[in-house]
Amino acid sequence: MAGMTITEKIFAKNAGKAKVSPGDNVWVSVDILMTHDVCGPGTIGIFHEKFGRNAKVWDKNRVVIIPDHYIFTADDKCHRNVQILRDFVREQGLPYYYDPEFVKNEPRMPNPYLDPTKTRYKGVCHKALPEEGHVRPGEILLGTDSHTCTAGAFGQFATGVGNTDAAFTLGTGKTWLKTPPTMKFAFRGEIPPYLTAKDLILAVIGEIGVAGATYKTMYFAGEGITSLTLEDRMTLTNMAIEAGGKNGVCDVDEKTLQYVRHRSHVKNWEVFKDDPDARYCYEKEWDLASFEPLVAKPHSPDNRDTAMNCRHVNIDQAYIGSCTGGKITDMIFAASILKGNVVKVPTFVVPGSTEVHADMKRLNLMGAEKGPNEKSIEDILLDAGCRVGPSGCSACLGGPSDTFGRLAGTEVCISTTNRNFPGRMGSMQASVYLASPLTVAASALTGHITDPRDYVVKPIQTGMAGVL
């Protein structure tokens, strides 16, 4: 009998079975269900319709609601949607709701939080979930958002579902899942200073294509992955969906445990490893030193090319943000290049969460508490001419027309986000290049796509930024 992978072991545990194999359909218990302002109202509507107006969620400590998509807009329908979440939270008595208290039910742009440490609002759900202690190894997390797969960086099974699935789980605590086969991507060596996890995942997606992992688990393994910070691992698992993956997963190590011990509400969890004889449907090993800084050209995340090859592409805008490229380590990467320079094109910076925003104000370029006369990461970005907006999904998915950083015309934009489909950032005529925060920052300085190798002279230290 073949051994099992991490994902198979999690499925078996939550299905109450000794063993599952790829292809097996199983009913599993769900540990955490997350929804947000875009899919929450539809989910809540189906929950009420199917279980009744007085129905209660299966376990209020396992439901997490994080408004993040359409927050800073005057569109009153968006504010109404936040109100639907609030009403549901009150009705159900849900403890884990992160309210943008400054959003009032009126057709006017809300005044953003003044101090990111003094708001209940968190920003992008996939960043907030681990920060707020809802992510643990060995668990099953479902979210009404395709990038829920991000949390696989912590050794759990996490995947996106639709409103009907979420409503079903809200009422029952269960869902049916087909056990996916696992693709193993192993990385050797240490990541060179001019690369980030974004380059690795663009390389992988370019290799297997946007449907290369459809229905499958993408397992990121090897010492190359353990050498990454948790935040950089989240960049890898975040984009598993861009290859069609059902989930992405990394091994649990001391770094994971340190993070989770510090944050988790629940103090017990199980750590799974692949058995030595676990079966993979695909295996490839890469040497990290062999990669170059990459971009994904318009209009698909698998349209891989090197930044060097694209150096003649002029850009009109740069964007640093989202659940993929708006973490504190991404900000440190970008700021290390922008420090003491001035951007040539409008550069929009959107912290992935209010914690990231607070850390941008609190930390120096080494990821340590800044001294009284030292510049913060935010100071460095502002000095370089960047515009820093409030945390949230912002222009990553276009959004309402008054969204910060949104594309409106034929702009060429280089972005740390995860999708460059036609129209994704707001304009059907625009062209979006996806790249690492290093490549985006270097390109912002020159006005054309720029390989960051000349700009990174020594390894960038991020210290404990984003961990503690």
């Binding site: 359909n25 875009v38 509507g45 329908k77 579902v161 639709g162 999708r419 489909f421 059907m428």
Partner: protein, 187 residues
């Protein structure tokens, strides 16, 4: 579930993502409110680049401007249909416009799952690639019993893959009805 579905085809290419099926700017409508839900029909496929709207010629809107319903019953796509975000608004929009079935080479999994569990659309897979063989506006007859699609306009027919594991959920009309019938949920 109906076994025979007749109607006009609307043909799209590969990698039709959910931002093309229903662009993010329309996601502020609440699908649980009937007066807002119909707008998903109005804007279904609004994000497909004009040249790709209704192949092979393009520039054919799925739903005419300011209307809520489409003339097309059967959407035909290529590879990886429905990739991208998990928004259930995507299958809902196609269904709300009045189409009832999609035939593609294969699907992105969350879209497929939403079609099945939400009971919006029957997501069929074709055995061969049909995007070049069927033109927008062709009259089709789909027989889910015999797994065949007949092109009445061009007098051709093509095989479909059996629905497989998910057939019982599709037949029940979605995961809620399925679970109820299986005794997993109280009525």
């Amino acid at each position: 579930m109906q076994n025979i579905i007749r109607g006009k085809a609307y043909v799209l290419g590969d990698n039709i993502d959910t931002d093309q099926i229903i662009p993010a700017k329309f996601l502020s409508y609440n699908p649980s409110d009937p007066s807002e839900r119909r707008y998903f029909g109005m804007y279904a496929m609004d994000g497909v680049p004009a040249g790709q709207m209704g192949l092979p010629n393009g520039n054919i809107r799925f739903v005419r401007p300011n209307e809520f319903k489409t003339d097309f019953t059967i959407v035909v796509g290529g590879k990886n249909f429905g990739c991208g975000s998990s928004r259930e608004h995507a299958p809902l929009a196609i269904a709300e416009a009045g189409a009832s079935i999609v035939i593609a080479e294969f699907y992105a999994r969350i879209f497929f799952r939403n079609c099945v569990n939400g009971g919006y659309l029957v997501p069929c897979e074709s055995v061969e690639r049909l995007v070049e063989k069927i033109h927008t506006g062709d009259e089709l007859t789909v027989n889910l019993g015999t797994c065949k699609v007949t092109n009445e306009t061009r007098k051709t027919s093509h095989a479909l893959k059996p629905l497989g594991d998910v057939a019982p959920i599709i037949e029940a009309g979605g995961v809620f009805q399925y679970a109820r019938e299986a005794g997993m949920l109280k009525s």
